[in-house]
Symmetry: C2
Subunit: 355 residues, 2 copies
């Protein structure tokens, strides 16, 4: 038990501690500036060397404020300006703009770490995967949960039989988006920017993807309901959504809402035990274990969203520097988009959608 | 807050502290003998005066062991033996036998407290309701959660707007039935005794009914999946089940399994707050509240399943003695059976079932 506690944060995935990957960051919203930039600053193998935004002025200003060498516009990025200054790109723009930047990065021979969901539609996500495969560049999707210690330890426990056979999964990810960003015209509420919708694309994806990672299996069928009633959600169908997802041997139920009290949970109940992540998805992930008559609560408050993001950048850099296999790659991310598309189709038609 | 804490157990429903209802208990399984009998013993308004079982010998023996006046057989009960000895009956037999005893009780002019689920099928449950209505006797279904203080306080908070608008509900009720009762031939696994199945009839009903009570609304549509893989569950379709239930304005997801780690939870997330019952259903119900940045955990360990059952008997007695309205009546219980029937129909056909 001492070993387990002392090695809780251990990067079992790490293959090297030497070398540096120079990142260009695209899309300078609050997440990139307030979380991703400091996360790279704290990373062992990553360095931010270029910022890319809508205008050269904005990119240069934010670069100067953050001690980054250089800032350029998207146009300059497409034109191949400063390609010597970076090895890989991080794409943190609104969903529907990922493809254009990834295609250009691939043409420049740059590897890509792209935020989730990887694009706005299955069709565009496929084109992204193909662009990188054709160019021979790496494509990783930014699933922070895969490198969170609570999730890593949970996955090991499941592999070791802690749960027996998984029976049911409950996921919830909800937040009051309009309290967090008080703007009804934000991109997450615009289907041209976000894709199929907002709550499942932006929040439900955490429950679904983390379950796929923990159980090492994918959904086989989906049924879903969703509704929007608040005015700000007029253009998206899923102010709230609830889904029933079939996995081989067990069932998952998942809810997500951009207009609800903040709460993130993921719980897997098995024949022999139970594992719950509470909170689950936005840092300080708590691991709650039950088996026989014993319950164990593991809290790990220093591992916040920024620290998770540092792990993400270091994991990707580690794989690029060692030519190692990347787990949450483009084809992995594509499965999530297929599931989300099916969730929306099921809610629209009332049908069960087989995957 | 002191008032709230000090009145946590207060029986806001109580109309009288005077009088006695004499109960005949039918079906002497472990629940009736180990829980219901001591629960009546501890009650203020109830008294057990007659036990009824498969044979006079068995009934007399258990009556003597528990200081009850008299024991008779089901045959004697049907024949009207000892009708002067009781005012009301408690029916704790396997589901598919409830109707025959309730019909006889109604013929004898006796009021009925019947365990949940009220019968094995919708059709038989309807006949039960009609028998009591025709005879003019009261019929209450034994939903212990309605009188549990955690549930009562949660309902008041919801009525007062604690959640804002309800957005999603998560329910789970799972237990390792074969560890608890190590007999693959037990009645809960026999569809002739239990009805549509085992996990939803016996466990899922708690999540569904408590949600109906808390939100004061009923499901309008159901989609469900279920499966049985363990040999002991060969005759029932739902060793595990997962359901998506539409309520007006919000969605519920619910899982239940008779072959899983023990866990009972019910959580309602709203636009402004969250209420969780954890554990939820089998005593010592914990009330966990979140709203804005504040979390409140209320534990109440002395309120176990027996104490909940005492409340149930006293509530029913209170209503009989005062001629007051009974909330979880036969028509209320009938809605649960319609929902459970729809859950099974949906799992069998893959269709959404409108209610």
């Amino acid at each position: 038990m001492i070993d387990w506690i002392d090695s809780y944060e251990a990067r079992q995935w790490q293959l090297t501690t030497e070398g540096t990957v120079r990142y260009a960051l695209l899309g300078l919203g609050w997440w990139t500036v307030d979380v991703a930039l400091p996360a790279i600053g704290a990373s062992e193998l990553g360095e931010a060397t270029l910022l890319v935004s809508s205008s050269t002025d904005k990119a240069e200003r934010i670069a100067a404020e953050n001690d980054i060498d250089r800032g350029i516009s998207y146009e300059q990025f497409h034109d191949g300006v400063a390609t010597d200054a970076y090895d890989a790109v991080y794409v943190g723009t609104p969903n529907a703009h990922h493809l254009e930047y990834v295609e250009t990065a691939a043409e420049h021979g740059k590897d890509v770490l792209c935020e989730k969901p990887m694009e706005s539609t299955v069709e565009r996500a496929k084109r992204m995967v193909e662009a990188c495969e054709t160019a021979g560049t790496e494509l990783m999707i930014g699933y922070r949960m895969h490198t969170d210690p609570a999730v890593q330890r949970a996955r090991e426990l499941i592999e070791d039989g802690f749960l027996g056979e998984p029976v049911s999964v409950h996921g919830n990810n909800s937040q009051p988006l309009l309290d967090m960003i008080p703007d009804p015209d934000q991109w997450r509420l615009d289907p041209d920017q976000t894709g199929y919708g907002t709550s499942v694309m932006d929040l439900g994806i955490y429950s679904i993807n983390t379950t796929r990672f923990l159980l090492n299996r994918d959904p086989t069928a989906v049924h879903s309901r969703m509704a929007s009633t608040h005015d700000a959600f007029d253009s998206v169908p899923d102010e709230r959504a609830a889904s029933l997802l079939a996995f081989e041997g067990c069932e998952m139920v998942s809810t997500a809402s951009q207009n609800a009290h903040e709460d993130t949970r993921l719980r897997i109940t098995g024949t022999e035990g139970q594992i719950e992540l509470r909170p689950a998805f936005h840092g300080e992930c708590g691991l709650h274990l039950s088996r026989n008559d014993l319950s164990v609560d593991v809290t790990h408050e220093t591992f916040d969203a920024e620290r998770e993001t540092t792990e993400l950048f270091d994991y990707f850099a580690d794989r690029l520097l060692t030519d190692g296999d990347i787990h949450p790659d483009g084809r992995h991310g594509l499965v999530d988009l297929r599931v989300i598309e099916a969730i929306h189709e099921s809610a629209a038609t009332g049908d069960v959608i087989e995957l």
